[in-house]
């Protein structure tokens, strides 16, 4: 029982990464209608950003947690302005292909510079050791990741649902023309929202640096899992993608506990099940006439 609870906890921690990545993907999709294939690459760059910030500039983990997402968010805004924007009027497939190409380029550049072996990154001194969670001990850092990701998700939700900025973004997402007709400059928000989504991916990357293997391939496989997560949660729904992130992290961990052979396949089997029973996703709305 204790080890099962521990598994669930581990699942929630990996779900934290799913949730943060799915959240960024979902926000970008909502505003631009773009599925950002490079999201995994930005996650990878976030982790390498933390490594580089420490090695080259001596920036601590805590500073990296702020600086790296800002820098990469800026890079995201630049890419949106120069490349993604040219294709937003066309079928979304083109931006999917464009960002796929960008992902390959970014991933290969990092591989050429750092090779395929993993880069070491120390846990911050404040978060070494473990917490006594009553039933079992758990590494402090993992507890921090879980709490932090929940706080970030809640903060994003509050901003989207309770502030004027969030209202504009939600309105532009649902009815861009009408929002524009009400005198709101929808286009102005596109670039910042894209940058924000990328920054969330980078944030997840920095969080991953002290506990995951930091290498050029870390984002490639993960983004496919995230795609499955957002198909399960419903990509249009911000709440749905976060909830699905934690839920799937947890379910995979439990599945892994009982059927270890299925550990990597489980999320895809879940996706198949959701497609069968509720094609629009657990929290998604039905698509219009397809």
């Amino acid at each position: 029982m204790e080890s099962l609870l521990q598994q669930i906890f581990t699942g929630l921690v990996s779900g934290s990464f799913f949730a943060l990545l799915a959240l960024g993907l979902s926000v970008i999709f909502g505003m631009l209608g773009v599925v950002n294939f490079a999201h995994g690459a930005f996650y990878m760059l976030g982790a390498f950003g933390a490594v580089m910030a420490l090695d080259a500039l001596g920036l601590s983990f805590w500073l990296a947690l702020v600086v790296v997402p800002l820098v990469l968010g800026g890079l995201g805004m630049l890419l949106e302005r120069t490349l993604v924007r040219r294709l937003t009027r066309l079928d979304p497939l083109y931006n999917f292909l464009l960002t796929f190409g960008l992902a390959l380029i970014l991933q290969d550049l990092v591989r050429l510079k750092y090779g395929v072996s993993s880069q070491p990154y120390q846990r911050p001194s404040q978060l070494q050791g473990s917490f006594d969670l009553g039933l079992f001990n758990y590494p402090r850092y993992q507890v921090f990741v879980l709490v932090f990701s929940v706080l970030v998700s809640v903060a994003v939700w509050v901003v989207l649902s309770r502030t004027r900025v969030g209202m504009i973004v939600r309105a532009s997402t649902e009815r861009p023309e009408l929002t524009g007709a009400l005198g709101i400059n929808v286009g102005r928000w596109v670039t910042p929202v894209f940058g924000f989504g990328v920054a969330l991916a980078a944030l997840a990357g920095v969080l991953a640096a002290p506990m995951r293997a930091v290498n050029s391939g870390m984002g490639g496989d993960l983004i496919i899992v995230i795609f499955a997560v957002v198909v399960i949660g419903g990509l249009g729904s911000v709440f749905g993608s976060v909830a699905a992130g934690y839920l799937i992290g947890m379910l995979t961990a439990v599945g892994n506990y009982y059927v270890p052979a299925l550990s990597q396949s489980l999320v895809f089997l879940l996706m198949a099940l959701v497609l069968l029973l509720r094609p629009a996703g657990l929290f998604g709305r039905e698509e219009g006439v397809s």
Binding site: L87, R89, D91, L93, L97, F227, A228, P279
Partner: protein, 350 residues
């Protein structure tokens, strides 16, 4: 007038293109390293198979490595364990790929647009993990090695001769794709691409058509993957990995979506480029593939074939203008049915 007719893509041009195609196909292993020539054949058919979905039905399958790869493994297993002619092994592999495509297609067509791409990608990754885990059969990370080139005792160890043994299989596959596109079934696919709601209103079961073309495309991708495996003598995890799915998409897009034969050009260019990079000792395939993606999508969305066909068609129209009025351009545009332009953002974008 004769040149105008020739360029407008009517009969003569078609025969000319076919003649060029035959000459190039027969001469290829004289011009380039035979194993690379066979690679071009296999990837070419793979890209053409993908175009049935992407170009003609408007469905982006980002998981076609599942079919190429599962056929590569199956073909290899049949060839190793039975010693049957490799044609039979390839057929077996392709049938398995088609069988696999049935449930995947059934589930994937429940979502449209960009979701379809994500779903197929995810299912392909499932196949990848299964292949990785099922070590006793697939050899895991070592791959399946020692696939023989059986053909009624003929000695095909020289890749030059194997090319000519494989060519009929590929040509048959290409012919099948051409037949599909130019059949009533193919016209329905184009109708679905253009306006799914209208196709449904005409009484076509859109999902059933999509599943069927998905299975057919997977079968042809399986033929290509099987030939590839026999040519290389092994099947590895690379064959089912998502980078393989991406590579075939880039070939199709570079060649020209919805042009059918564009995929052959795309395969020719990408395979040659990778071969050149490998010989030159430049290890940056991901970067190069990515750059081709970005440039094609930004600057060259109709692809090579599409651009050339567009130029030829517009020149033909201009030259034909002084001719008798009321004569529309030939019904058969060089691009095949429903001239593929760019896919505009349409109602179907989910």
């Amino acid at each position: 007038m004769i040149t105008a007719k020739l360029l407008s893509g009517g009969g003569p041009l078609r025969w000319l293109l076919l003649a060029i195609g035959i000459v190039v196909a027969l001469a290829l292993p004289w011009m380039i390293y035979p194993p690379v020539a066979t690679d071009i054949l296999a990837w070419g058919l793979f890209a053409v198979a993908l175009d049935l979905l992407l170009g003609y039905t408007g469905l982006l399958s980002f998981g076609h490595a599942a079919f190429w790869g599962s056929s590569a493994y199956t073909t290899g297993l049949i060839a190793i364990h039975t010693g049957l002619p490799f044609y039979v092994a390839v057929l077996g592999g392709a049938l398995l790929a088609a069988l696999l495509a049935l449930p995947i297609g059934y589930l994937a067509v429940r979502r449209t647009g960009i979701y379809f791409a994500m779903v197929t990608l995810a299912f392909a990754q499932l196949i990848y993990f299964l292949a990785n885990q099922w070590r006793s059969v697939t050899g895991g990370e070592n791959g399946l090695q020692g696939i023989p080139r059986n053909l009624f005792g003929a000695d095909l160890s020289d890749s030059f001769y194997f090319y000519y043994a494989a060519l009929p299989v590929i040509v048959l596959g290409l012919w099948a794709a051409w037949r599909i596109v130019h059949s009533p079934f193919g016209r329905v696919l184009v109708a679905i691409r253009e306006n799914p709601a209208r196709a449904r209103a005409f009484g076509y079961s859109v999902d059933r058509y999509k599943i069927l073309v998905f299975v057919l495309s997977a079968f042809l991708a399986g033929v290509a993957g099987g030939v590839y495996a026999v040519s290389h003598g092994f099947a590895s995890l690379q064959e089912v990995y998502w980078t393989t799915s991406g590579k075939v998409v880039v070939m199709t897009v570079l060649g020209g979506m919805g042009t059918l034969w564009g995929g052959l050009l795309g395969a020719l260019i990408v395979v040659q480029l990778e071969d050149y990079l490998a010989t030159a000792g430049i290890d940056a395939n991901g970067f190069v593939t990515g750059a081709i993606f970005v440039l094609t999508v930004l600057l060259f969305r109709r692809g090579i074939w599409g651009t050339i066909a567009g130029l030829v068609a517009s020149r033909g129209r201009r030259a034909a203008r002084p001719g008798p009025p009321g004569e529309p351009g030939g019904p058969d545009q060089p691009g095949g049915p429903g001239e593929p332009g760019e896919l505009e953002r349409s109602a179907q974008a989910g």
